[in-house]
Amino acid sequence: MDLFANLHLGIEAAFSLNNLFYCFVGVLLGTLIGVLPGLGPVPTIAMLLPLTFGLEPVSALIMLSGIYYGAQYGGSTTSILLNLPGESASVVTVLDGHQMARQGRAGVALATAAIGSFVAGTLATILLALFAPPLAAVALRFGPAEYFALMTLGLVASVILAHGPLVRALAMIVLGLLLGLVGTDITSGVNRYTFGLPHLAEGINFVILAMGIFGLGEIIRNLENPSERGGAHVQPITTLMPNREDFRRMAAPIFRGTVLGSALGILPGGGAMLSSFASYSLEKRLSKTPEAFGRGVIEGVAAPESANNAGAQTSYIPMLTLGIPSNPVMALMIGALIIQGIQPGPAIISEQPTLFWGIIVSMWIGNLMLLVLNLPLVGIWVRLLTIPYGVLFPIVLVFSALGVYSLSSSPFDIAMMAGFGVIGYVFAKLRCEPAPLLLGFILGPMMEEYFRRAMLLSRGDASVFLTRPISATILAIAILGLALAIAPTFRSKRREIFVEED
C-alpha cells in the first residue's frame, strides 16, 4: 500500500498522451453540455457510452469523468449568467451568483466558481487518494435513520437559506414537499397524484420544475418589465477577475465548502446534493452580515461551488470501492465499467490498481484543465449578457425545451415546463423565492422514504432516531440550527411589540 508507488502508477496512466487527450475531450464536452440549460451529463454520457467500447477502461472512465465534472463547471455558468439552474447542485449558485451578475460582477462570480471548484477538486482528490477504503467503511454506517436525520438537517438549511419573511419561505418549502409527493411511493407501491398518467408515475422531474420556475418564470417577468431586467444587461462589466479583497473573502468559505462537500459526497444515499445547500446555509449562519446573502455576496458563490465539486469527486468512493452508485451518473460509469468487463467493488483497488489510481490522478488533471479552460472563457461568457434580450431569451427557451425533451422524448414534459413557467411568474410577482421550493421538492420524498424505511427496520420503534448515535447527533444539530434560525424572528417580533407599546 505504498502511496507513492500507487501515485506513480496513476501518473503514468493519466499522463499518457492518449489519456490526456481523452481527458481534454471529456472536460470540453462536459463544459459545453453544462452551459446549455437543461441538457445534463446523464444523457450525454449515455450517448457516448458506445464510443467507450473500443477504449481502454481507464481512458473510457477518464473521458466520462471529465464530462461529469466539466458539466458541474458549465452548470454554474448558466446559473450565474442566466439565473437557470441546470441541475440540483446549481440551485444555490443562482441565489448570489446571478445577483452578482446583475451588479456587473459576473466575471468575478464566474471566476470565483472556477477557482473554488478547482481548489475543492484538488483537496477532494487528495482525500480520495489517501482515504478511499476507510471512508467507504464510514459511509456504510449510515442507515436509513441517519439519512433521515441528514435530510432533516437539509430542510433546516433551506429555512436558513431563505431570504425574507420566514412564513413565506416555509410555505414554499411545504409546497415543494407536496410537489415531491407526486409519483409512485416506493414503500407501498401506491401511485399518488398521478391522475392516471403513466408519465407521472416516476414523479415530476427536477429539471422540468427548475427550468420552468426559474427559467421560464424569469423570462416572462423580464419580458414584462424591460426596465427591470437587471444590471447585467445594463451596467458595464467592471472587472473580470476577483481582486485581492475578494480572494481574502472566498478563502475560508472555499475550505469549509470543501470539507462539507467531501463528507456528504461519500454517502451513497445521495448526500452530495445536500452539500451545496448546507454549505450556503453554513456560510450565511457564520457570516457577520447574513442579510447580505441573496444580494450578491462572494461567499454565497464560493462555498456552494466548492462543496458540490468536492461532493462530485468524493462520490466516486462508493462507486469504485463498493460498486454502488450514489447518483445516475455514477450508475452510468458502473455500466461503462461492466461493459468493459470490470465489476467495481471492494477488490477493485487491488485487482485494478492502474484503473483506480489512473482515475484519481486524472481527476486532478481534469480540474486543472477546467480551470485553464474556464478562466479565459469568463470574458466570452460575460459577452453573452450583451446580446439583446430579444435574441437571448428565444435561445434560452429553445435550449431549455431541448433539454427537457432529452429527458424522455415527451412533449408532455415541455407542456409541464410551460405550466411551471407560469407558476414561476406568479411566484415572482408575489415575491416568493423559488429556491426553498426546489429544496423541499428534492428533500421531501427522500425524507419520507428514509423515515418509513427506518421505521420498518426498527419494527415501528420511533426512538431509533435518537438511540443511534450518528442520527441523534445530526438531529441535534438540525434542531439547534432551526432554533438559531427562528430565534431572531421572535426577537424582532418582541422588539416590534415594544415599539408599538411605546
Binding site: P144, S188, L322, L332, S408, L456
Partner: protein, 333 residues
C-alpha cells in the same frame, strides 16, 4: 427589370417541375424485407442506462452491429417498472427495427400486479432470443450470525416478523423470490423495499437489513472479497461462479426456481424472415467464446434458445409468477 421577370418565373417553374419529377422518381416504396436491415435498428431498454438490461443490450448490440452491418442504437426509456418502455415497443411498427430488451419484470410480472400496464406482453410481443439468465443469490451481511440458509429459515420460522429482507422494489423478482421462500417454508419476514438494487445492496453490506436476493453479477464481487456471505442461489442448479453455494431447492425448498432473465423481443406481427434472421444472429453471438465467457463470469450465461423454446420458457415463467401473485396478493400499486 420587368422584362426579366417572366423569364425568371419561367425558369423557376422549370426548376420546380424538374424537382417534382425527380421526387416522383425517387419516391419508391422501400422493400425492407428483402434487404433487412437497411437502416439502424433500435433496442428499447425500459430502464435507466447502466442497469443489467442496459449493459446486456449494449454488449449484444455492439456485436450485432458488426454482424448485421447496421448500427444498433440502444434507447433508454425508463419509468413505471419498465412499463413505459415496454409500451413504447408494443406500439412501434412491426418491421423489426424496434426491438425490446425485456426482462422478467415487464414481460411477466407487470401485467399480473398492475391494474393498467397499458400493454399485454403475451399478445404484443414475440420472444426472439434469450440473452442472459442469471440466478439470484441470497446474501447476508458479512458480520451476520446466520451462516447457512437452513438456519435463516429456522430463525424466520421461530421468530416470525423479526428478520428483514431487502428488495429492489415492490413486485420485483428479488421481492417475489423472498416471498416465495418464506411462504414455502411457512415463515414470515418483513419486506423492506428499496429504490433499485444498488440501494438495497448498500444496506445489506452495511448490516441494516438481514438478507437480500441479489443478482449474481452484483453480488459476486462482494462475496469474493468477503463483504457479503452467500447463503444460497435461487436456480435449480448451482451457479458455476459460486460452486460451493447450495441452491435453495436442494436445501430448504425443493422446486424453488427463480432467476433474472433478459431477452430480445419484437412485435408480434413482425415478418417471419426478419425474426428468423434476428434470432439466428443473436444466438450466434451468444455462442461466441468471448461473449459466453463474459456472461459466465457474471453468472448470467444461458444456452441459446429458438424463438419457440423462448416462448415456452416465458409462458412457464408466467404460470409460476401468476400462482405466486394469486397466493400472496402482491400488487405494484
Amino acid at each position: 427589370m420587368s422584362s426579366l421577370a417572366p423569364n425568371a418565373q419561367l425558369s423557376r417553374r422549370a426548376v420546380l417541375k424538374g424537382a417534382a419529377a425527380t421526387l416522383a422518381i425517387t419516391a419508391t416504396p422501400a422493400f425492407a424485407q428483402d434487404t433487412y436491415p437497411s437502416r439502424p435498428i433500435r433496442i428499447i431498454v425500459p430502464y435507466a442506462p447502466g442497469g443489467q438490461g442496459d449493459v446486456l443490450a449494449r454488449l449484444i448490440g455492439e456485436r450485432m452491429t458488426s454482424v448485421l452491418g447496421q448500427t444498433i442504437l440502444v434507447e433508454n426509456q425508463s419509468g413505471g417498472s419498465g412499463a413505459l418502455g415496454a409500451r413504447m415497443a408494443a406500439t412501434a411498427e412491426p418491421d423489426g427495427y424496434s426491438l425490446l430488451m425485456g426482462q422478467t419484470g415487464e414481460i411477466v410480472i407487470n401485467p399480473l400486479v398492475m391494474a393498467e400496464p397499458g400493454y399485454d406482453p403475451a399478445k404484443d410481443f414475440m420472444p426472439l432470443s434469450i440473452v442472459g439468465n442469471s440466478a439470484l443469490v441470497l446474501v447476508v451481511p458479512a458480520a451476520s450470525p446466520i451462516t447457512d440458509v437452513a438456519s435463516l429459515v429456522e430463525r424466520a420460522k421461530t421468530e416470525p416478523d423479526t428478520l428483514t429482507y431487502a428488495s429492489s422494489g415492490n413486485a420485483t423478482p428479488s421481492h417475489l423470490a423472498a416471498l416465495a421462500l418464506s411462504r414455502g417454508v411457512g415463515a414470515s419476514m418483513i419486506h423492506v423495499p428499496y429504490r433499485g438494487a444498488g440501494q438495497a445492496l448498500t444496506d445489506v453490506i452495511g448490516g441494516q437489513v438481514d438478507c437480500f436476493f441479489s443478482s449474481a453479477a452484483a453480488a459476486l464481487g462482494h462475496v469474493r472479497s468477503g463483504t457479503l456471505k452467500a447463503l444460497a442461489v435461487s436456480t435449480p442448479e448451482r451457479v458455476a461462479a459460486l460452486g460451493d453455494v447450495p441452491t435453495v431447492a436442494e436445501t430448504v425448498l425443493p422446486g424453488f426456481s427463480f432467476s433474472l432473465w433478459a431477452g430480445l423481443f419484437t412485435q408480434t406481427k413482425t415478418p417471419r424472415a426478419v425474426t428468423d434472421r434476428l434470432s439466428r444472429t443473436v444466438n450466434e453471438i451468444l455462442a461466441s467464446p468471448e461473449i459466453r465467457q463474459r456472461l459466465e463470469e457474471e453468472g448470467a450465461a444461458v444456452a441459446p434458445m429458438t424463438p419457440e423454446t423462448f416462448t415456452a420458457f416465458v409462458a412457464d415463467e408466467r404460470v409460476k409468477y401468476a400462482d405466486l401473485v394469486a397466493q400472496t396478493g402482491v400488487r405494484a400499486e
